[in-house]
Structure formats: C-alpha cells, structure tokens
C-alpha cells in the first residue's frame, strides 16, 4: 500500500498464547474510503480488529494512522491517535446512561459536550439519553456504540460485525448512517462483515479473510460477487 494511506497495516501477526491467529496481514485504507473485511465465523476478523485497537498485543508488524506508528501503544493512546472502535457485541456500558456512554468518548475532546451531530445521526439516542445503556434494544445499542466511537473524533473508524443479530430494517439504517458519517467527516471506515449486501452498500473495497490471511481483494466496481459468496459459504 502507498505510504499516503490514512490507515496502514503492515505484516501483522497475532497469537493467542502458542496458537497464531493472524498470519501476516497487510492492507491500507485511504481518507474518505470504506473498506470491508469479509469472512466466515472464526476466520480472524475480531482478532484483527482487536490487534488494530491494541486490545490484543501484536506478535509482529505495524499499525500506522495518518503516518504515526501506534503499534506499541495502549488502546487509550490509539484513541488519541485517531482510531475509533465499535467492537463485536457492541460492549456499551450497561450501567451508564446513554448520555454518559457517549460522554466516555470525550476524553480527548476540548469541549466536553456531546456534539449535536451525533444525535442528528441517531435521533433515537437523544430520545433515550437518560436511559441506562443496558436497557436499550440490540439495534439501539449498536447505534450507541457507533455514536460513542464517533464522539472520539476518529480518523479511522473500526466496526466489527455491526450487523450481527440485528433486524434487516435497522441494518439498512446502519448502512445509511455509515455512508452519512463518511460524507460528513470524510474519514476512513473499516468494517468486518459476513453479510455481502451490507458490505456492498457501504464499502468501496472488499477484502476476504480466511484462516487469518487476506485471500482476496476487489473494488466494488469490479466485484466478483459469486466468488465472494463462495468464500462466505461453508
């Protein structure tokens, strides 16, 4: 990948104890670009994202955001360095209100008020702002998790299977929101997915991950949908 990419991932290795799960992944993503990482269950999507976020340590390789090497930094410093993270399973803070959940992302912000823009993007969060996060529905929690990551003002937004366990109408909303975010902020979005239709709604480029390696890459324009479907079916 070119050195000008906003996100630069170079020869990444990650292991759980003795067992290696990511075997040398490299890719880049530009400013104002959305890329999707497609793969079946257990192929290493979450492991890759956790390693990018610093939740798991790297065995080898490099993660750069906007030219700054973040490979050895703790997660909270990577947030300051411009990575926003929406984990699989959403992981909102159930005991905090919606408003407080959003405020946790303001750690590096000068103004500690939640930006209007977040509520404009997800009006349901404004309606529910006094409710405990744990009492929201799955789809609402997903919007909260995205909102919370956006509040950190990321240059690169990582979303790990944002459509998992969410009903189709809300999946459409989330796709719309992601496209809206990109239009508004011109940031880089990396999303992992198993649902091809969603990926095609949001991504400019698609990768396929299998067994901890990227095995296929194509742009949306030149996509070979049947081939990707084959990767995604068991």
């Amino acid at each position: 990948m070119s050195g000008t990419a906003m996100l630069n991932v170079n020869d990444l290795f990650v292991s759980y104890g003795q067992s290696q799960a990511i075997h040398g992944i490299s890719f880049g993503a530009n400013r104002n670009e959305t890329v999707a990482v497609m793969g079946r269950n257990g192929m290493g999507k979450t492991t890759l994202f956790k390693a990018l976020m610093g939740v798991l340590p790297l065995k080898g390789g490099k993660v750069e955001v906007d030219g700054v090497d973040l490979s050895r930094e703790e997660s909270f410093r990577r947030v300051a360095g411009g990575i926003g993270y929406v984990p699989q399973g959403r992981m909102i803070f159930p005991t905090l209100t919606v408003e407080e959940n959003l405020k946790t992302g303001l750690e590096n912000a000068k103004n500690k008020e939640i930006p209007e823009e977040i509520y404009a993007l997800f009006p349901v969060l404004f309606e529910m702002r006094k409710r405990k996060g744990g009492n929201l529905s799955g789809g609402q929690q997903q919007q909260l998790a995205i909102g919370r990551a956006l509040v950190t003002n990321p240059k690169v937004l990582l979303l790990d299977e944002p459509t998992e366990g969410i009903q189709p109408s809300i999946i459409k909303d989330i796709a719309k929101a992601l496209n809206e975010i990109r239009k508004l902020r011109e940031i880089t979005i990396v999303v992992s997915e198993q649902v091809l239709s969603f990926a095609l709604d949001v991504a400019d480029r698609l990768f396929v991950i299998e067994g901890g390696r990227l095995v296929h890459e194509s742009t949306r324009a030149n996509i070979d949908a049947d081939r990707i479907k084959q990767y995604l079916s068991v």
Binding site: M53, G54, V55, F76, F93, E100, K103, N108, K112
Partner: protein, 304 residues
C-alpha cells in the same frame, strides 16, 4: 427502669452508635470504591485511617506548641490535611506496589497485609507504642441535652455531619465528575473503557488514592471517640469489611445502609449485653441476612 428512661438510653446509645457508624461508613466507602474499581481488597485500609488519626494528633500538638490561640479551629484544617496525607501515601502505595499485582487477588491480599504490618511498625517507631490523643477543641466536647436525662454528645453530631458531607461528596464526584465517569466506565468494562480513550491505569491510581484519603478522614473522625495507637486502624478493618460485604460490594447505597445497621445493632445491644455478646449478635444477624441475600443488601437491577 421506667419506659421513658429506657427510651432515653435507647436514644443515647443510638447517638453513640452514630460515631461508630460514621467511622465504619467512611472506611467502608473507601474500601468499596477501591474494590469496585480494581477488585483489590486493601488489607492496609485500617492503616490509612491511622494516618488520618495521627495527623490530627500531630497538628493538635503543633497548634498547642506554636499557636495555642488557634486550638478551637485547627481541627478543620487537620481533617483536610488528614485526607491529603492519606491520599498521597495511597497514591505512592498504588504506584510502588499495588499496580504490579492487579488480577492476582491473593497476591494483593498478601501484599497489602504486608504493607499494613510495615505501616504499623513505622507508626510504632515514630509515635511510640503508647496510645496518644489529640487535644480536641473545647466546642467538640460536652453534650447537648434537649430533654431531662437525655445527653447527646456534640462530637458525635459533628462527626456525623462530616461523614454526611464526605459521603455526599463521593456520590457527587462519582455521578457528576469526569473522574466518576471514568471509574464507572472502567468498573463496567475495563477493556472497553480503555478502547474508548480512558487511561484506566491512571484512573486506578486516582481511585485508590481517593479511597485511602477517605480512610484518612475516617481516622480524623475516629480521634473524637477513641485514642490512637499503631494498631488502631486494624481494629476497624474487619468491621469495615463486614460493612462492604453486607451492603453488596457494588452498591454505595448498600454501604451506607449496612454501616448504619451494623453500628446501631452493635451500639444499642452493647448497652444491654456485654461487648462480645453484642458482636456475636451483630454477626449472627449479618450471616442470616447474607444467607438469604448472598449478593448483599442491595444489588444492581440492570441488564448486563
């Protein structure tokens, strides 16, 4: 004994219990926020209380020697200094010792216990083995007699007020300050808190230090009801643990309720029974209730 005399004794023991309640509550609060945030059981918590008590003693002696006219007022400043000293020592203890042992509960238990013994030895070498008492300001002594045969000690009411203030302050901090938000996010999900930008290690240190500082205030309160020796704090640690377990470790409201219950049961029954029988009664009640509600008096009602 007439019914009204009985009632007066009941009331007076109740007010005497308020001092104990205050000390237990302040101790329990500190223990609970430290345990809640990092899962650390701080066996040295009693010694941080002792730091507070000795601080009052030192400042009392200093005031008497150098500025006797200030004797009526030094107590207020001394409480703040007690907090600051205990806070500072707590900060250093976290940095030097505790932070290396997170996620190893047995090791932290041993390490903080060792710390407690070490601190006791330092107290002994510095202040001697004999118990000391600060000269309390005149206005703290004596009692208020709203009715014939009913004497309510002023120090008890003062300590009570102080405790309410500190408790309200802790609640405010937890629910309204940035530190509180960091703590509650970290308690809820440490990994995620870090991944949203919160420096969880710094939050740990801050929380540990604040918990220790509150114990220092407990020590200041303690000087109004007892004299201070190197092991004074360790006498309260078991009761403070009881308060936290009984209240439900995740709930500060539970800590308040259980400190009140334990202190009152202890104090009121102490008048009618011997001290150790009163303790047996308190323990029996706690054990019975914990058997019915193992999660403690209060538990969170939120989907996790």
């Amino acid at each position: 004994m007439s019914a009204s005399e009985m009632w007066n004794i009941f009331l007076m023991q109740g007010f005497a219990g308020l001092s104990l309640f205050s000390v237990l509550l302040l101790m329990g609060l500190g223990l609970a926020i430290i345990f809640g945030q990092m899962g650390v059981i701080n066996m040295a918590h009693g010694e941080f209380m002792t730091i507070g008590a000795y601080t009052i003693f030192m400042l009392s002696s200093l005031t008497e020697t150098y500025a006797p006219t200030l004797t009526p007022y030094y107590f207020f400043v001394a409480i703040i200094v007690a907090f600051i000293l205990a806070f500072a020592v707590g900060w250093m203890a976290e940095w030097a010792l505790i932070r290396h042992l997170y996620r190893r509960p047995l090791d932290t238990l041993l390490a903080t216990w060792g710390l407690s013994l070490g601190m006791q030895q330092i107290f002994r070498s510095t202040f001697g083995a004999k118990e000391v008492s600060p000269t309390l300001p005149e206005w703290l002594l004596g009692s208020w007699a709203p009715a014939e045969g009913l004497d309510i000690p002023i120090n008890g009411m003062f300590v009570m007020g102080l405790t309410l203030l500190v408790t309200a302050g802790v609640f405010l901090m937890l629910y309204r300050s940035r530190w509180g938000l960091r703590v509650r996010a970290t308690v809820s999900n440490r990994t995620m808190a870090n991944a949203i930008g919160i420096n969880t290690k710094k939050t740990d240190r801050m929380t540990f230090a604040i918990g220790c500082g509150i114990a220092g205030v407990a020590g200041a309160a303690f000087t109004t009801i007892g004299s201070t020796g190197p092991t004074s704090g360790s006498l309260y640690i078991v009761d403070a643990f009881l308060v936290v377990t009984f209240g439900g470790a995740a709930s500060l409201l539970g800590t308040v309720a259980s400190a009140f219950g334990i202190a009152q049961t202890q104090s009121i029954s102490e008048f009618f029974l011997t001290g150790s029988m009163a303790k047996v009664l308190t323990l029996l009640t706690i054990i019975t209730i914990l058997m019915i509600r193992p999660q403690g008096l209060f538990a969170l009602k939120v989907r996790r």
